[in-house]
C-alpha cells in the first residue's frame, strides 16, 4: 500500500517536471526541471518499488536510487558548465560578471 502511494506520488511529480521541461524558456531553467524529474520523480518511484517488491528487488532498487542521487547533480553541473563555456547566454541577461572574471584570469597567465 505504501509502495503504491509512493509510486503514484513519484509519477505525478515526474509528469509535472516533464511539463516544466516543455515550458521553461532556457537551458539553465530546464536544468531545474530535469532535477525535479531525476530526484523527486525517479528516486521516489524507485523507493516505492523497493517497498513493493520486498524480498528479491529491494537491494538492487535501493542501489539504483543511491546511484541516481549521487550522479544527477554531477551530470547537470557538467552540462550547464559546458553550455556556458560554449557561449549560450541565459534569456534576458543584464550583466555577465563571470565572463569578465574568466577573461581577466586568462590575461594573468
Amino acid at each position: 500500500m505504501i509502495g503504491t502511494i509512493l509510486m503514484f506520488l513519484g509519477a505525478m511529480v515526474a509528469l509535472i517536471g516533464s511539463l516544466g521541461l516543455l515550458r521553461f524558456p532556457d537551458v539553465y531553467t530546464r536544468t531545474h526541471a530535469q532535477t525535479v524529474i531525476n530526484v523527486g520523480g525517479s528516486c521516489v518511484m524507485i523507493l516505492g518499488i523497493c517497498i513493493e517488491g520486498f524480498p528479491f528487488l529491494t537491494v538492487k532498487a535501493f542501489l539504483i536510487a543511491i546511484f541516481i542521487i549521487i550522479t544527477s547533480p554531477l551530470g547537470s553541473h557538467a552540462i550547464t558548465r559546458a553550455a556556458y563555456r560554449s557561449g549560450i547566454m541565459p534569456r534576458k541577461v543584464v550583466e555577465d560578471e563571470l565572463r569578465f572574471r574568466e577573461k581577466s584570469k586568462r590575461k594573468r597567465r
Binding site: 509510486m7 503514484f8 516533464s18 537551458v27 530535469q34 518511484m45 539504483i64 552540462i79 559546458a82
Partner: protein, 82 residues
C-alpha cells in the same frame, strides 16, 4: 501497475518532444538524461513481474550517466582525460 506505466510513458513522451525540438545541444542532452532516468524506472516496474530485468536497469543507469558526461566534455572542447 498499468496506471504507473502509462503515467511514466506520457512523461517520457514530453521529454522526447523537448529532445527533438530543443534549440541547442545542451537542451537535447538534458532531455535525454531525464528520459534515461525515467526509462530506468520503467524497467524496474517491469521487473516487479519479471525479476530478471533488475540488472538491466543497473547497467542502463550507469551508461546514461557516462553518456551525459562524455557529451559535456565534448561540448566544452577539451579531451576526455582532463
Amino acid at each position: 501497475m498499468e496506471l504507473m506505466i502509462y503515467l511514466v510513458l506520457s512523461s517520457i513522451g514530453f521529454c522526447l518532444f523537448r529532445a527533438i525540438k530543443g534549440p541547442t545541444i545542451p537542451d537535447r542532452v538534458i532531455a535525454l538524461d531525464a528520459t534515461s532516468s525515467l526509462i530506468v524506472v520503467l524497467i524496474l516496474i517491469l521487473s516487479l513481474k519479471y525479476p530478471v530485468f533488475a540488472d538491466v536497469a543497473i547497467i542502463y543507469a550507469l551508461l546514461g550517466f557516462t553518456g551525459t558526461l562524455a557529451i559535456a566534455k565534448y561540448l566544452e572542447g577539451k579531451g576526455l582525460g582532463e
